[in-house]
Subunit: 99 residues, 2 copies
DNA sequence: TTTGAGTGTAAGCGATGGCATACAATTCAG
DNA sequence: CTGAATTGTATGCCATCGCTTACACTCAAA
């Protein structure tokens, strides 16, 4: 249930849209509550990649959506975790970026 | 563990910084892996509110951090959930914005 | 102390975001 | 079907982002 991963601006957009509709708000109403323009809500819901992080977080807060961390791999917080592991992890992450 | 809430750009910044250090990377190394400037990483870690959403998500992905939803209140997805409840929720959220 | 890596800050520039306004397209009640 | 509400798109302006370059600050190792 809480396992929906947020990977892209489009994910955020879909999330916002779904929640907005679930609350019975239209774009204009949400916009005024968040303090942005209706156009901005519209574009963000469509996955605008360059959207302002702070405004997005405010929008989520307004919709009572709480983001949290779903740790994928943990790190031995003990001693030096240097190169080898990390590069593999990061390469995998990079590939996942734009398939 | 997975309950750390993400509310503000500063939260994102702290998250990125902690994870970067846990992975033994410096700002420059992370920047080049993400494909942004070192300066940008620096500012985001300090909580830059206007940061580019897409770049932030790419940074999180590079660090293998997965965001997910922690639903606060659910909505009777049945019929119209209109004004009363919502406004209270939203007002509270607004107040939380800039105290 | 000195040296160096890592980090924080500044100035200027090109690119882009967010805005208002206006107008199509779509959806939905009547 | 008609008309209103909601959503999508276009244009232009101004503010701000992200970049490069450059330099100061901190701190740990030599």
């Amino acid at each position: 249930m809480a396992g929906i991963p947020i990977r892209s601006p489009a994910d955020i957009g879909a999330l916002i849209r779904d929640r907005r509709k679930a609350l019975g708000l239209d774009q204009a109403a949400l916009a005024s509550k968040v303090g942005v323009s209706r156009l901005w809500i519209n574009q963000v819901e469509q996955g605008k990649p360059g959207a302002n992080l702070g405004l997005v977080l405010r929008t989520l807060a307004t919709l009572d959506i709480a983001l949290s961390i779903a740790p994928q791999k943990d790190v031995k917080s003990d001693d030096a975790v240097t190169a080898p592991d990390i590069d593999a992890v990061i390469d995998a992450a990079r590939e996942r970026r734009e398939p």
